[in-house]
Symmetry: C2
Subunit: 421 residues, 2 copies
């Protein structure tokens, strides 16, 4: 680019990266958004793709499409392999070296196996569309295998173990219970679907740890009503292709293991060569800048930003979105030579859905919603948040269809099979 | 199943197999539909998945969902590896042996490479959702590669060669031209998109051979207006990873080759061990039964049924659908000990779409439609034919979105990538 305008490189097209890029639209800068995938992933709804309620294309949006109308932004597909803070360049996996005047790291988090044996080989994460499709395919193929050979039920073919009782694990467990009870039951009329098990394993003594205890209790009760078995106060010691062994020595035969136990920062943070916290997050100043590097910002799941209580901000979408907005404002201030304001996160509350007509919502003032009102609030918020009219309309069609018919349309097994019957 | 009712095995969940199964709903038989995939594929719209206009889930429908309300039907996922006509059993790839009283072979056709070197290795077919997604991924990845390294254009990275000028090839060429002109141009503002080439190769001297010559001429003109280069009267001699060599010795550098040159019958026909025609289709009597085997029917793309002019019926959806209905009627007659009627195909006409506001329609009485009226007719028919409300509604949303905005939402590259930025 033949430009003398400051170059802003944004690494990551998640909630934070896109928010930063969009808020830089009116500034005299050249923005480049780098991501290893060609689409933004609406991660909060991936569990619905995994449980066949939505298509992958419903919860992903082409990154280039986001910037059709933003003239100072471009998109670059690539994986960052190195960052040179001195030369101010970012190196991509295809060998390209991109110079920057400002660098915004918003690469998010990846699934963490916490060193538990077998997780990387046998468990399925839930951070990308490919992850979600892998879970969907595994579950559907297991049901087909059992339909051909009933003996397989005894080996755990219809058992799904979900590890981690946070929002992702709870939503996966609820979505899987509905898929099995509402759809699989009708898809496999000859099968004793009641023998399918869903086990949710959580190390703490309650699910939804960050929520108020009464919401945890409600979520637990709802899950149990749906037939989910809870293993609280238990950790996973080992995962194999067909079993999950817990720390009390018990074993659960299971062909599908979903690992929602936690995340760690994207390794790109380490490539920066500065101080990280225990989970790999980059330690930043209160304005989200890397200490000693006023031109490098880190935000969202990748940043360990200081807070009053000493704990970093939660790794949720609103923190990333507000962080992106802050960074754009900070770059504007920097261009003008103004002083940077500290980043102040405004907590808008938390929510998690368990199933049809059942969600829990906690507002910052401590008020809570649950059941049907919570579910409506959850539905509305997620629909509004989905990027792009098209995705909103399709999601609405799918959700309306699922709600009225108890059906789920997206249960295709698409593999790279070769032709032939 | 503890049943003394006649067992009808239907191999293939395409148009013909589903039509047969659904028309057997009220008969005292037990129906089992066997397919290697867990979904019906609406093949006429696969080209829209390949050109990012529709999601794969829009044009596929879970086979089990089709039979939720049909009590005498069940579905079995599996690949037929052998048929024993004497013992009346079908053997699946998982070792199961299924007995039948009536066998309906509706396994369709697969892509035929006609022995051309390199087609199997380097060209992409268009018979399944996985095929369509492979084309979409190849094209999108090629544009990304060129965005990172402009030199690649000269090697054919932005060139798509489509082999075969029948409806599939013409629809692919038109869809690809629109994708590039309407969407890629905006996705890659820094790229000289006019250097992207689409070449349609056809051995005959006109496209859409089975249509009236004036419709072929219209299609040719429309394609040329859209920038598609036509190579008529040319065959492909060899395909490599980066070139297509024609039979006149000329070479076209191209990283994407779509093979729409023709199909051959599913090899399952050969497993029957009876007489086949040149393209592998099973030769059947005028009632679609295998000669000497009153309990075995073959229909659709897999059947070479006798016609007045000596040429077998075309391999299109209406022939399969009507064949399926005929077979159900024939089984009803057989159960009653009645005489079987011959199968009479009612030609409802043919249609092919080239692009926005442009399609050609030929009615059986020789009347033709083209341009906008043809396109509306095409749109309506395909929408009505799509199985299931849900798919219809989503397709409508996507089409309306594409039409009004010239955008295409389904351009995700979803690969089995490992985590990390």
């Amino acid at each position: 680019m033949n430009s003398v305008r400051p170059r802003v490189l944004i690494v990551g097209a998640g909630f934070g990266g896109l928010a930063a890029a969009e808020h830089l639209a009116d500034l005299p800068v050249d923005v480049t958004v780098i991501d290893a995938r060609n689409h933004h992933t609406f991660q909060p709804l991936l569990y619905q793709v995994a449980t066949a309620g939505l298509d992958a294309d419903d919860v992903c949006y082409p990154t280039r499409g986001v910037f059709h109308r933003q003239r100072n932004a471009r998109v670059r597909l690539g994986r960052v392999v190195a960052i040179d803070r001195t030369a101010r360049t970012v190196e991509l996996d295809d060998g390209a070296s991109l110079p920057f005047d400002y660098l915004v790291l918003a690469a998010g988090a990846i699934t963490a196996d916490f060193g538990v044996a077998g997780v990387t080989e046998h468990a399925l994460g839930l951070k990308s569309a490919a992850d979600a499709l892998a879970i969907r395919t595994r579950v559907l193929q297991s049901f087909e295998a059992v339909d051909a050979d009933r003996e397989l039920i005894g080996t755990g073919a219809l058992t799904t173990v979900i590890v981690g009782g946070g929002p992702t694990g709870v939503e996966m467990a609820g979505g899987m219970a509905e898929l099995i009870d509402r759809v699989m039951r009708r898809d496999y009329p000859g099968l004793d679907v009641d023998r399918a098990r869903i086990v949710l394993v959580e190390g703490a003594d309650r699910v939804l740890g960050p929520f108020a205890p009464k919401l945890s209790a409600k979520a637990k009760k709802t899950l149990e009503t749906m037939g989910v078995e809870l293993q609280l106060g238990r950790n996973v010691a080992e995962v194999t292709a067909t079993t999950v062994r817990l720390d009390d020595g018990s074993e659960i035969p299971a062909h599908t293991v979903v690992w929602a136990a936690g995340v760690r920062a994207n390794p790109i943070g380490a490539a920066l060569g500065v101080e990280l916290d225990r989970s790999g997050r980059v330690i930043v100043d209160d304005d989200l800048r890397v200490p000693g590097h006023p031109e490098i910002f880190v935000l969202g799941d990748l940043a360990a930003s200081p807070t009053d209580d000493g704990r970093p901000l939660p790794q949720v979408a609103p923190v990333a979105i507000q962080g992106g907005e802050h960074v754009a404002t900070a770059i504007a201030a920097s261009l003008d030579g103004r002083e940077l304001e500290p980043f102040v996160y405004k907590d808008k509350g938390s929510m998690a859905t368990i199933g049809r007509n059942a969600a829990v919502v906690e507002l910052p003032n401590g008020r809570t919603l649950s059941g049907w009102p919570g579910w409506i609030a959850w539905l509305g918020l997620h629909l509004v948040m989905l990027i792009g009219f098209r995705n909103r309309a399709n999601v609405l069609v799918n959700w309306a269809w699922n709600y009225w018919t108890y059906d789920r349309g997206s249960r295709l097994i698409v593999t790279d099979e070769r032709p032939g019957m």
